[in-house]
Amino acid sequence: MKPSLEVRIAGLTLRNPVLVASGIIGYGREYERLVDLERIGGIVTKTVTLHARAGNPPPRICETPSGMLNSIGIENPGLQGFLEQKVPILRELPCAAIVSVEGEDVGEFCELVRGVDGSGAAHAIEVNISCPNVGPHGLRYSTDAGMAREVMNAIRPLTRLPLIAKLTPNVTRIAEIAQACEDCGADAVSLVNTFIGMAVDARARRPILGTVLGGLSGPAIKPLALAKLWETVQAVDIPVVGMGGIARPIDAVEFLLTGATAVEVGTAMFANPALPEDCVGAIEQAVAALPSAHVEDLIGALEVPEGRGVIRAGKAARREAGRHAS
């Protein structure tokens, strides 16, 4: 018998801990012939903003060593367009549909949450307070714990859907922002969004991206994403969704071991659309190898040698502590 890989994020139960990250496969349909959505936990939609956005001028992407930069600028049909064109698609998905939203101010965040909640098509909302590509707004929310608090406090009363706050890694202490979100009712946090980066065409003496700066993703950032995850899981009690650079199936296991309750697969899917399914396979194998065969016992199970003893990370450590106490 295959072990169950079910994980829970507040009210949301996922078939398994593998999601597709926001901005990677649109709203599901674009990739429908390339990914078997029945095999994965769910998808996060491209971020929806209140008003439709045409996105940034070209070029918007650029390959870098083991990574890519993007400056898409949240091209999306806006809330109205989303409700009309995308909600019908989401309803048909054979996996969880997590809708990503981003507002330019608290009011917009509220309208978006109300709209998505009302649509009935979302299993959870990912609150994107972390996009580096939309000028000062996104960054303001993402780099300031106080602003994160404001947004979370405002939207929390508007929906009973699980709220997952998506964090930027472009900060000195990500754990502070994560704690602020937890304090204000976030059911989970997800991280990381992209790292701010830049590429230069030395021959043309120009920046490569139309916007000069963009967001770095892909395997290049995996070590950075794991470090941010490690910092965060030790600071909060809510589930953490990990991502950043997952490119081989075993990478997903690394994120779970480090303390992620679920993972999101991003950039590397462009090369290998089967990657999310392959990640499920790798997790299945890792879980099957556990004495308990429980996926929760993989989460945060990293063994960190410290002095002579061995400590366990994040929730796993607390669970353990709880067991001993009881």
């Binding site: 990677i24 996105g55 070209p58 918007r60 395997p219």
Partner: protein, 268 residues
């Protein structure tokens, strides 16, 4: 469109730095249209990270063999890896993708190729020939060695141009187009243009067409991530006009597009 695993039937250097690779595809690969492309994973490694988009030079169905051909130049890391892939290697690709050329009935198609941009136009010319439609093929390149595929262009009228004058007209294929247009007394109602080549050339040809009101389709190039319209990484900037507020995705609304509405100066 599908993700298919294919195997290299052959891969050889047809002129310095330019390769023709033939890939056997399974039945599930739909019959492609000229101008459509495939999104190729050039190797198994993490690096290079992204797939590479390539227009199809041709498609063969002979008995059990179903194969696509790509004509490519080695310009960077991905094409370098591709050039080293030997017969029998397995590669995977997504395709056929995008929108191809759409010749209208009862008009003379004028195919204008610049350099390696000839690939999708060779494919188009073969289709026209199969349908017994006459066409004009104008082909410009740096030198005669770069004139890949000319022997295959049959059933149409062919004119060549080279920068170094090593064969045909000495100069740009744009001159050939101007001569053809006036010489053969084409009009926007009797002829239309299909073109592929360096952006500078496409820019000039689209100006030529727009000024005269000629229907003109060009095959565009630019960086792509997903190749299927999901990531919005391949925006085509448009000239001021009814549609200029949005950025069509090159991979799904192109790569073949109405050249006269593209803002070439803003295309990477």
């Amino acid at each position: 469109m599908n993700l298919v695993s294919c195997s290299v039937v052959s891969n050889h250097e047809v002129s310095a730095g330019n390769f023709l690779i033939t890939l056997q595809v399974p039945r599930s690969f739909a019959r492609p249209q000229p101008g459509q492309f495939v999104h190729l994973r050039v190797g198994e490694d993490i690096e290079p990270l992204l797939r590479r988009p390539y227009s199809l030079e041709g498609f063969t169905e002979r008995g059990a063999l179903r194969a696509v051909r790509v004509y490519f130049s080695v310009v960077g890391r991905g094409s370098g890896v591709l050039a080293r892939q030997e017969k029998g290697t397995k590669l995977d690709l997504i395709g056929p993708l995008g929108i191809g050329f759409t010749p209208r009935p009862r008009r003379v198609p004028i195919l204008v190729a610049g350099g390696r941009g000839v690939a999708p136009l060779l494919f188009l010319s073969r289709r026209l020939r199969e349908r017994k439609r006459p066409y004009v093929f104008l082909f410009g390149a740096r030198s005669r060695t770069d004139l890949y595929g000319v022997r295959e262009i049959r059933g149409g009228r062919l004119h060549l141009a080279t920068d170094d004058g090593s064969i045909g007209y000495e100069g740009s294929v744009l001159d050939l187009l101007e001569r053809e247009w006036t010489g053969a007394r084409h009009t926007p109602l009797t002829a239309e243009i299909f073109t592929c080549g360096p952006h500078g050339l496409l820019h000039a040809i689209s100006d030529f067409a727009r000024e005269r009101g000629i229907r003109c389709e060009a095959s565009l190039e630019g960086p792509m991530a997903c190749g299927v319209g999901a990531c919005r990484g391949c925006p085509v900037p448009l000239l001021p006009g009814p549609d200029s507020g949005r950025y069509p995705a090159m991979c799904v609304e192109g790569p073949v597009m109405d050249a006269t509405i593209v803002d070439w100066a803003r295309l990477p």
